[in-house]
């Protein structure tokens, strides 16, 4: 594929180049919508299209006023603050529980392994609208089911900070489980045995031997969990109230009701965040591969 052999026929040459053009067009389709957002967010007008001044590259056609609006508007600032308050806590919750469970799941003899795995992965598979529906019903009126009937709990989770955190943590867990178990596949169990042999207790073994080696997997799982919560809008729309309005929620209402160009500025900022995230994950993946290459498995 990489290069055309010198003996290629004309037909093969034509196909070779047209295939490249087709692939180029598909890549263009993938990336162009995201790239187009960036210059549009510097529009001096309240339009969603390129003004003649912008096309002429006239400096007057550009401004940062939409960014100023984002950083001064109290609605957007509250949304940003809420997002930054919810996502990290949900991430910590899902990473700590998820890592522990992933270590348990990667032991050699786990009863009902498949069934447990299926339950733990299910938040990723079940459509968000269904999770949101169920959580809306249950969180508004939580109860403990017993064979004799429900015991209603005297509090409600809908419209509270902890309700949203709980829901987002549940949604992030499958990603932690998948990445950490994948990292543990390459983990050499004899290292923990060696540590135990030298007198380390299980906790020391975990923090001194196992954790540093699986850290890349844990961090990338955490990043997945973070972005899941940071990006999530369906569940927070149902479970949260105006007090928990997050950035995606604010964008959603903005797009649905009064579409304001500030959204494009926010979108550009979020694109920068995702580029950063992509870069971090790539570094982690490389490091994980290097570590795996080092271990004598």
């Amino acid at each position: 594929m990489s290069s055309l052999p010198p003996y290629a026929t004309t037909g093969q040459r034509i196909w070779h180049y047209s295939f490249r053009i087709i692939c180029g067009l598909i890549f263009f389709f993938l990336i162009a919508p995201i790239i187009v957002i960036i210059p549009l967010s510097f529009n001096a007008q309240n339009f969603f299209t390129f003004t003649p001044e912008m096309l002429a590259l006239n400096p007057e056609g550009f401004s940062t006023k939409h960014y100023e609006d984002f950083f001064t508007n109290s609605d957007w600032q509250l949304a940003l603050k809420n997002s930054l308050k919810i996502a990290p806590v949900a991430t910590i919750l899902s990473v700590s529980l998820g890592t522990l469970a992933a270590i348990g799941l990667s032991q050699s003899h786990v009863p009902f392994r498949r069934a447990i795995m299926a339950i733990l992965i299910s938040p990723m598979i079940v459509p968000l609208i269904i999770s949101a529906t169920g959580m809306y019903f249950f969180y508004s009126n939580p109860y403990i089911p017993t064979p004799f009937g429900k015991i209603e709990l005297p509090f409600t989770l809908t419209g509270t900070y902890w309700g949203v955190v709980l829901a987002h943590a549940a949604l992030g867990i499958p990603f932690v489980i998948i990445t950490v178990t994948a990292t543990l596949v390459g983990f050499d169990q004899s290292l923990t045995r060696a540590a135990a042999n030298m007198g380390a207790n299980p906790v020391t073994t975990f923090f001194k031997v196992q954790m540093p080696l699986i850290l890349p997997g844990v961090v990338s799982g955490g990043l997945f969990a973070f972005i899941t919560s940071f990006d999530e809008v369906v569940v927070v729309l149902f479970v949260g109230s105006a007090g928990q309005k997050t950035l995606p929620w604010q964008m959603f209402t903005g797009l649905r009701e009064q579409i304001s160009p500030t959204i494009l500025a926010v979108a550009t900022i979020l694109i920068a965040v995702s580029i950063l995230l992509l870069f971090t994950l790539e570094v982690l993946r490389r490091r994980s591969e290097r570590l795996r290459g080092m271990s004598p498995s």
């Binding site: 032991q107 733990l120 269904i130 995702s274 992509l278």
Partner: protein, 591 residues
């Protein structure tokens, strides 16, 4: 070795080795489970129970049995002919008296209104007139003895002294900080003789305490007198009653002898003739049982009729159409993803690693970009005054555009003819598709006007293909990476043409990747909510948008739960298939 040949092999501590190993295995299993347990419990509470609750709600039916417990207990025995007997009207009068105080009757009315129009206003109207039942009895009793004008008389009669003391103590506490009111404790002597009054008084206590009031300090409802008056003449004088109350009961009993009380049936019929309509009662009867398949019938465009399930009227059938449209659109999105994803995955799998990693970024960047960002990008691009339309208009105004337009015109007209043939096929499913957007195909004929790309199926399909494409490319890529390139070379060296080599050798090996990608994309698209909501308009929406509508706007939660259950069943079926083909353990993220 000679001395151990007869006995079992022993471990170092003297136990049999087998037992010792078993014990070690058990401990290992237990330790693994202990590590998993916290997360499992967390997921069960925060995720599995909500889903189970939703499943339960799709069949649960407390809509009539909760506000009308007495009526719905009697209604199953009614044969559906004519009007129900007086007993049922009597029960309804008691239930409604409670429901009106709790303002539950309007909710019940508007819920039953989905099944039969007019019930909502009937309940509202009845709620205003029902409190006159019992006024005759109240007047008579109050005339016999002033004690009936005291507000606590019923409480002293029907509650135990301990409860009266507890409720009075509760009443003087600070209403901001006090806990729940003490539960009503019925006086056993009275409960036996006056079952109806006791049960109604219990409802009265529940209602007044839920309003943070003392039941002993509130005016009793007239219906309480009515029920007491009915039960009093036939009841034996209860023992252990304070003297003044026993006296009052005796006097009341004498005064009531031969008196005609309010007739609830007459009162109801006087309020509205519809209470004599069998159809109204049939609707209430249909929704009386605690469990119903009504919501499921509703979500497949059926309803409960007199003789079992029946189709809804033609103009009210929307859900099957919506399900099929969701399926067709998800399939279209899936097809587009295969079409666009296959070449990219092939390119990435066959390029040298360095180049492939560079290009992979172009796939992963959209994958990592916020869903809202991508959706807003498409909203901006596809608008009538958006970038795509502007570019097209600009293009037609350039010299090249003017030159090429006739060519495109011809081509597009040919395409239009082809599309017409497809349209004919679509028209068979015309309802499903909501009509084909003629402008889409008519573009050339219209002289290159601005396209309607948003707020229809086109918008949803374009945006969702873009959003889900990485989910197709990544599994395809990981499967294609495992196909050795030497197979293709071998096929070619054995004389196969490029196409034969690809189609007979390479493609069959990439099918598992296509399968995995297709199921993944289909599962994700079938439950999508945000993107269709924002770019789909009215015709381009999915079943999930309808679920959201029923939760937030129409408040028909049972129907939302039933629709969600059906959607969940479809997704779980696909998930099971995915598990069979790929295995859930093999789910990979980000390549």
């Amino acid at each position: 070795m000679s001395d151990t040949t007869s006995g079992p092999v022993l471990a170092a501590d003297g136990r049999p080795l087998k037992a010792s190993l078993n014990r070690a295995l058990r401990r290992q299993k237990l330790r693994a489970l202990m590590l998993i347990a916290p997360l499992l419990i967390f997921i069960l509470v925060s995720f599995v129970m909500p889903i189970a609750d939703m499943l339960f709600r799709s069949v649960e039916n407390q809509i009539a049995s909760e506000p009308l417990p007495r009526t719905t207990a009697l209604l199953p025995d009614w044969d559906g002919q004519g009007t129900p007997d007086d007993m049922i009207y009597e029960a309804l009068a008691r239930d409604l008296a409670v429901a009106v105080e709790a303002k539950a009757h309007t909710r019940l009315g508007s819920r039953l209104n989905y099944e039969q129009t007019g019930i909502s206003s009937l309940f509202r109207k009845t709620g205003r007139g029902v409190d006159e039942i019992g006024e005759i009895a109240q007047d008579v009793l109050e005339d016999t003895n002033d004690i009936w004008k005291e507000r606590d008389t019923f409480g002293l009669l029907f509650g135990t002294p301990a409860w009266v003391e507890a409720i009075n103590a509760w009443d003087v506490e600070d209403s901001q900080t006090r806990g729940a009111a003490p539960t009503f404790d019925a006086n056993p002597n009275f409960a036996e003789q006056f079952p109806g009054t006791t049960s109604l008084y219990a409802s009265y206590v529940l209602q007044t305490t839920s309003e943070d009031d003392n039941p002993l300090g509130e005016k009793p409802w007239p219906i309480l007198f009515h029920v007491l008056a009915q039960e009093l003449p036939s009841a034996a004088p209860p023992s252990g009653v304070p003297e003044n109350l026993a006296l009052a009961l005796g006097e009341a009993s004498a005064a009531l002898n031969g008196l005609t009380l309010d007739d609830p049936k007459a009162v109801f019929l006087d309020i509205d003739d519809d209470w004599g309509d069998a159809a109204v009662w049939t609707t209430i009867q249909t929704y009386s049982p605690a469990y119903t398949n009504g919501y499921f019938l509703n979500s497949v465009d059926m309803q409960k009729g007199l003789d079992g399930p029946e189709w809804r009227p033609e103009n009210e059938q929307i859900y099957i159409v919506l399900f099929v449209r969701t399926m067709i659109m998800s399939l279209s999105i899936m097809g587009m993803c295969v079409l666009l994803g296959y070449p990219i995955a092939w390119l990435l799998a066959n390029l040298p690693d360095r180049k492939a990693n560079m290009l992979m970024i172009l796939v992963l960047l959209p994958f990592w970009t916020s869903l809202l960002v991508r959706t807003s990008a498409w909203k901006v691009l596809l608008q009538q005054q958006g970038v795509i339309n502007d570019t097209l208009i600009w293009y037609h105004s350039t010299a090249v555009g003017k030159l090429l337009d006739p060519v495109f015109n011809t081509l597009l007209n040919a395409f239009y003819a082809f599309a017409n043939a497809i349209t004919w096929g679509w028209n068979l499913l015309n309802n499903v598709w909501g009509g084909v957007d003629a402008t889409y195909f008519d573009w050339a004929a219209q002289g290159f006007e601005r396209l309607t790309l948003i707020n229809n199926q086109t918008g949803t399909i374009i945006a969702m293909t873009h959003i889900l494409l990485p989910f197709m490319i990544l599994p395809l890529y990981s499967v294609m990476k495992t196909i050795p390139p030497s197979y293709l070379r071998a096929a070619k060296s054995l004389g196969a043409t490029n196409w034969t080599a690809f189609w007979r050798v390479y493609f069959p090996q990439s099918v598992p990747g296509i399968g995995a990608g297709c199921i993944l994309v289909f599962i994700l698209s079938i439950g999508y909510y945000i993107t269709p909501e924002l770019v789909g308009g009215t015709k381009g929406v999915f079943i999930s948008n309808r679920i959201a509508y029923h939760i937030s706007s129409s408040l028909n939660w049972g129907l939302a739960a039933a629709l969600g259950t059906i959607l969940l069943a479809v997704v779980m079926g696909l998930y099971w298939m995915y598990d069979k083909i790929v295995g859930i353990d093999n789910v990979k993220l980000g390549g």
